[in-house]
């Protein structure tokens, strides 16, 4: 029954509802969010896997048919099938990001970690999942020690970069800058170069540029849900998040992490 109700809840979440949830977390009114997110993440992960196998069969069958001379008369129809598969693949990737990130939202294990080591190491691991050629990194020299869960910090960076890269479009770029304050470290992630072609192109554009309302609605939902998860994770590590622009297409995010008190600080 619980699984069914979760499934139902996932399907009926709208951007407005997600924004309300975001506000509830901000005001500390949403205690049972973490276990809910974990269950929802597992459900989404299973659903994505089960959808990918039949989609793979459809796409490969269409590719195979295009190679057969007797199917040339149906080539345009096969192209339409393949474009539809690409669109579905895009949506599944969006869901996969959200599903994976929700799993990281519980039980932080905070420790003092040197930020000058933490950020580059997390970025190196993320290069497996994100196109880091689109991210320009500028770190201040001698960043201080912060108190965070290193694994959750990696997820925080992943959400921030995924969110801003999604806002920047398929070809856009993002900038990540880290600087130190008196008792904090600021990490700013922002859209640096907007896409060459507007993302919301007219329907019927080639490839993934097909701008149907389904893709746009899903992308907006995914963006707001990412911000919700980002806030949960950052606040669980005693930090804060500021969003520049509207949540559906943020132009930038500013994360502030608390500097850890070290032995050297205590001596001073």
């Amino acid at each position: 029954v619980f699984r069914t109700s979760l499934e139902f809840e996932w399907r009926r979440l709208s951007v407005v509802e997600l924004r309300e949830r975001l506000g509830a977390v901000q005001q500390g009114r949403d205690e049972p969010l973490a276990p809910l997110l974990e269950c929802a993440s597992q459900l989404v992960r299973s659903a994505i896997h089960d959808l990918r196998t039949p989609l793979a069969a459809i796409a490969m069958a269409a590719q195979g048919a295009k190679r057969r001379p007797e199917c040339q008369v149906a080539a345009r129809g096969l192209d339409r099938i393949l474009r539809s598969c690409e669109r579905m693949d895009f949506m599944l990737k969006e869901l996969a990001v959200v599903g994976r990130l929700g799993l990281a939202s519980t039980n932080p294990e905070q420790a003092p970690v040197e930020c000058s080591r933490l950020v580059p190491e997390a970025l190196a691991r993320l290069s497996d999942r994100l196109d880091m050629r689109r991210v320009h990194v500028a770190l201040a020299e001698q960043l201080p020690t912060v108190r965070v869960d290193p694994k959750q910090f990696e997820h925080i960076l992943e959400i921030a970069l995924t969110t801003v890269l999604s806002s920047s479009g398929d070809d856009g770029e993002a900038a990540l800058e880290a600087s130190a304050g008196e008792s904090w470290v600021d990490i700013a992630v922002r859209v640096e170069r907007p896409p060459a072609v507007p993302e919301r192109s007219s329907a019927g554009a080639p490839g993934l540029g097909v701008g149907g309302s389904g893709r746009e609605a899903l992308s907006s939902q995914a963006q707001v849900l990412r911000l919700l998860l980002l806030r949960v994770l950052v606040e669980a590590n005693a930090g804060t998040v500021c969003v520049d622009g509207v949540p559906e297409t943020p132009a930038g995010l500013r994360l502030r992490l608390v500097r850890a008190i070290t032995d050297a600080d205590q001596l001073v």
């Binding site: 990918r52 793979a56 490969m60 590719q63 195979g64 190679r67 690409e86 691991r125």
Partner: protein, 134 residues
């Protein structure tokens, strides 16, 4: 078991083993590999695939990670110990593309990784790289 048609004349070095428990996906993959000029042997059960590999080692093995009777990681480890399969290119096929799954696949002995659904381009590259002299 899917095999190449006589008309496609697969090169002997292009023997591909597929282990996949989803019938439609297995049949589609087998037919596509045949179109690419491979001799494809496809199985739903790990034991059948291992027996076949021992009799005639493939150049390439595409193994689903989530099988009904076992998992692809164990199959990869067992395939590596089969005589003649040390040079077989082992490729994990999965719907999970996260770094943890990739790391587990590499640790189990897989050489490469295919994330469903859009795999044809990478599959064609893998087939092109198959040794042609075996």
């Amino acid at each position: 078991v899917v095999s190449a048609s006589a008309a496609s004349r697969p090169h002997p070095g292009r023997r591909v083993l597929v282990l996949e428990d989803d019938d439609d996906w297995r049949d589609t993959l087998g037919e596509y590999l045949t179109l690419l000029g491979c001799e494809c042997v496809a199985f739903a059960r790990a034991e059948d695939a291992l027996r076949c590999a021992a009799e005639q080692p493939p150049g390439l093995a595409l193994i689903d990670l989530g099988l009904e009777d076992t998992n692809g990681y164990d199959v990869a480890r067992r395939l590596r110990s089969v005589a003649g399969c040390d040079a077989t290119k082992l490729v994990a096929v999965t719907g999970f593309g996260d770094s943890a799954t990739r790391a587990s696949a590499a640790a189990a002995g897989f050489d490469d990784f295919l994330v469903k659904p859009l795999v044809t381009r990478k599959l064609e590259a893998l087939v092109r790289d198959l040794r042609l002299d075996s």
